[in-house]
């Protein structure tokens, strides 16, 4: 594209204030990328858990250590944040929640809901 008027370029990332919808959008990408990177570890754990009762016990014990439990909760948050922001984007695709005030509230809602869901699920981890 050619611009007849030279426009100012202002890209100091520490001074640009991203609206909450933008924050949730970039979070959707980051969580998606992290989930992609986590897939081999998930497959490794799944395969080991099916392989033998000894490996099953090892995986189960690993998930029940303090660090294992924290990792599971963090991964759950990554998955659930991606889940909620994904649903938000799907609804926006079909013109639900496009209006600015609504979109801002739904963006905040995905953040609150993901943390809330992880807190509820933490009782079962």
């Amino acid at each position: 594209m050619q611009h007849s008027v030279k426009r100012p370029v202002y890209l100091n990332l520490f001074l640009i204030r991203l609206p909450i919808g933008g924050v949730v959008s970039i979070l959707h990408r980051i969580t998606g990328l992290l989930l992609a990177l986590l897939m081999p570890f998930f497959l490794w754990a799944l395969q080991a858990s099916i392989e033998s009762s000894v490996r099953f016990g090892e995986i189960k014990a690993l998930l029940h250590t303090g660090l294992g439990r924290a990792a599971v909760l963090l991964m759950l948050w990554i998955l659930i944040q991606h889940f909620y922001s994904g649903i938000r984007h799907l609804l926006i695709d079909v013109d639900i929640g496009v209006e600015r005030a609504f979109a801002r509230r739904s963006a905040w809602l995905t953040l609150i809901a993901s943390v809330g869901t992880v807190l509820v699920l933490s009782a079962f981890v």
Partner: protein, 118 residues
């Protein structure tokens, strides 16, 4: 905008867009199913865990999940690369490595799911 690209490319991206959205529906439903199932019936022991995976329907559902997931990953990663990897050689290299990586993951998923059957 329309003057900037030829008519031949006007439909490009719609397939990827649809694949991403449609797979997301299965992925979301399957995630709710697995999380709900684990909450309702926590995995008791090894025997119960493998008995669950003995079901053909369960393996099919997991197989569809993995297929949807890999397609979803490809579209998602591709759009990230297109936005942030500007040098063409870098985008091409990373995309190619990703494609092979996803194919390897597909074979691994298949291996896990057919184990004990063939």
């Amino acid at each position: 905008m329309s003057s900037l690209r030829s008519l031949g490319s006007s439909h490009r991206g719609i397939t990827a867009f649809l694949v991403q959205r449609i797979t997301s529906l299965y992925l979301a439903a399957f995630t709710v199913y697995v999380v709900g199932w684990l909450v309702a019936k926590p995995v008791p022991d090894y025997a119960g865990w493998t008995a669950y995976f003995d079901s053909g329907l369960v393996r099919m559902a997991w197989g569809l999940f993995f297929a949807s997931l890999l397609a979803h990953l490809w579209v998602g990663l591709r759009s990230i690369y297109m936005d942030y990897l500007k040098p063409m050689w870098l985008r091409f290299t990373i995309s190619t490595l990703t494609a092979f990586g996803l194919m390897a993951l597909a074979l691994w998923c298949t291996q896990i799911l057919v184990r004990g059957i063939v």
